[in-house]
């Protein structure tokens, strides 16, 4: 498999986020929450505070590193939930068909019809602001596309010889779904999940802006950006760096997703010879 430009750049950016997040305790010179000295508030970048400080006097660089943990958590956990729901519903609906398919299809249509931000907003309103709520809200929001893809892929796989052969060999339905169908639709699902991670990070920022995001003391990029948007004149660094972090990480996820799609596609075409 040739590694395209997209995968390299996207993977690089994503790796940066992952490394930053995982190594935050070692890379970050300051504690993102406790090392707040109001005497240091809104200092411009210098050799101590590489990205400057925010209005609370906290090191923006350290907070961005720790923020990567949050963003990754948001991206990964919400996409795991999405994917689990979407894949479970999609495969079973595609495989079993009948009333179950109709039901899942109807539900998917309903979910697609409600704009995701608004649905997330509603869920957040019910659960209250906070990390766990956000994970649930975003996890419940975007599974419909995954479900659709899983369903349509399953429909086309269902008539493939190897799935039918598995049936004639005596495999149970669940076993077929798990061993014959699931591994073969993981490609597009993975692409969806990667793109979804970017969407989740953006959604976190949007919900933060609407006052429903993750709340401090977690240094989430969305809330950092939201908090600092008033500072754009006085302490632009406090807004620019979190904004940049969001932009670059989402760009990374998106490029990676695109790259994966590009490299998966021809792979699938080889079947036609």
């Amino acid at each position: 498999m040739k590694l395209g430009f997209n995968i390299l750049l996207g993977g690089g950016l994503t790796a940066l986020v992952i490394i930053g997040g995982l190594l935050a305790p070692w890379l970050a010179p300051f504690d993102p929450v406790l090392d707040a000295n109001l005497m240091n508030s809104q200092l411009p970048p210098d050799s101590t505070f590489w990205f400057g400080t925010d209005s609370q006097g906290r090191d923006v660089y350290s907070r961005i590193l720790y923020g990567a943990q949050i963003s990754l958590t948001v991206g990964i956990v919400s996409q795991i939930i999405n994917t689990l729901i979407g894949v479970a519903l999609g495969i079973s609906a595609g495989y079993w068909g009948g009333w179950w398919d109709d039901l899942v299809n109807g539900l998917t249509n309903v979910m697609l019809a409600i704009p995701s931000l608004i649905f997330a907003l509603a869920v957040m309103a019910v659960l209250g602001p906070g990390l766990v709520s956000l994970l649930i809200a975003l996890g419940l929001t975007n599974w419909s596309w995954t479900c659709r893809i899983a369903r349509s892929s399953t429909l086309s796989l269902k008539s493939q010889g190897y799935v039918q052969a598995a049936q004639t060999l005596g495999y149970g339905d669940i076993r077929i779904m798990m061993t014959q169908i699931l591994p073969n639709i993981m490609g597009p699902i993975l692409v969806m999940a990667t793109l979804g991670m970017g969407a989740a990070v953006l959604a976190e920022a949007a919900l933060s802006f609407l006052g429903l995001g993750i709340q401090p003391p977690y240094p989430s990029w969305g809330s950092m950006l939201t908090d600092a948007r008033e500072l754009i004149r006085l302490a632009p660094w406090a807004a620019i760096f979190p904004g940049l972090a969001i932009f670059l990480s989402v760009l990374g996820f998106n490029l990676l997703g695109d790259g994966l799609r590009d490299s998966l596609d021809p792979h699938m075409r080889t079947r036609k010879t």
Binding site: I114, P115, I118, A125, V126, F209, V250
Partner: protein, 311 residues
Amino acid sequence: MLQFTIRRILQVIPTLLVVALLIFVIFSVVPGSFAASLFSDGRTTANPEMIAQLNRELGLDLPLPQRFLNYVMDLAHLDLGTSFRTRQPVLQLINDRMWASLQLAVAAMVFAVVIGVPLGFIAAMRPGSILDSVTMIGAVSGLSMPQFWLGLLLMYVFALQLGWLPSFGYGNGSLRNLILPAITLGVTPLALLARTTRAGVLDVMNADFIRTAHAKGMSESKVVRWHVARNALVLVVTTVGLQFGSMIGQAVVIEKLFAWPGIGSLLVDSVAIRDIPVVQGTILVIVLWFLLINTAVDLIYAAIDPRIKQR
């Protein structure tokens, strides 16, 4: 075709009903009540009798199934209820905001289509070229930007630094006020459109019938005009429809940022004060809008692609 149209329109109803139920359930368990939200600003002091009185007034003391029944009965009469806050019919409130929302959505879509589609087209004509790469990287970047960040940026540059455009607000619905929010809102669909157009055109360019067209001795430009454009349009129409349909919902952040008096900001404000009838009403309208646009897209689709009607 007429039957197809009617059928597609009727299919909207069950979805809408389920959405109504879903929203109803969600917002019946939401913490905080309208009455209690009234003194959350610390200005008024809480007054249990007043709250109880208000809840009674608003019918919030009735049991949940009863409330849902009333709600559905009202819906059946196309009555979305009365706002807790303004005591006006929800339909009226939405009506007041709909025009601004539509204006914004249409302007953003026009912006996205007028720039995104040609860009995608040109990129597809020269795959692998510098222009193609730049366009596509630009498109991904457009999709990776936090919307309100972009809006703020535009606001500072065009309104403040350059002073070309007003920074916020509806004005009296003047075009100048529309430009910045529309651009901000249009960036995502623009990027998506550029990408789908490119992908669609490339797809069509690789189709067998294009080889046939070449074998007929057609020039490149005729191939594009006679065979590529229309076929690629199918994909573009779908994307335009999906984007247009979800645009009002997506506009929430931008409406807040630019103080644009659309449905989105009405929704967010109503959520904040738990004006549940308005919340339910706006979401229903937003969903209805989405469904209708999608129905329209299906119809357009059927008009473009003769294969659809058969099914």
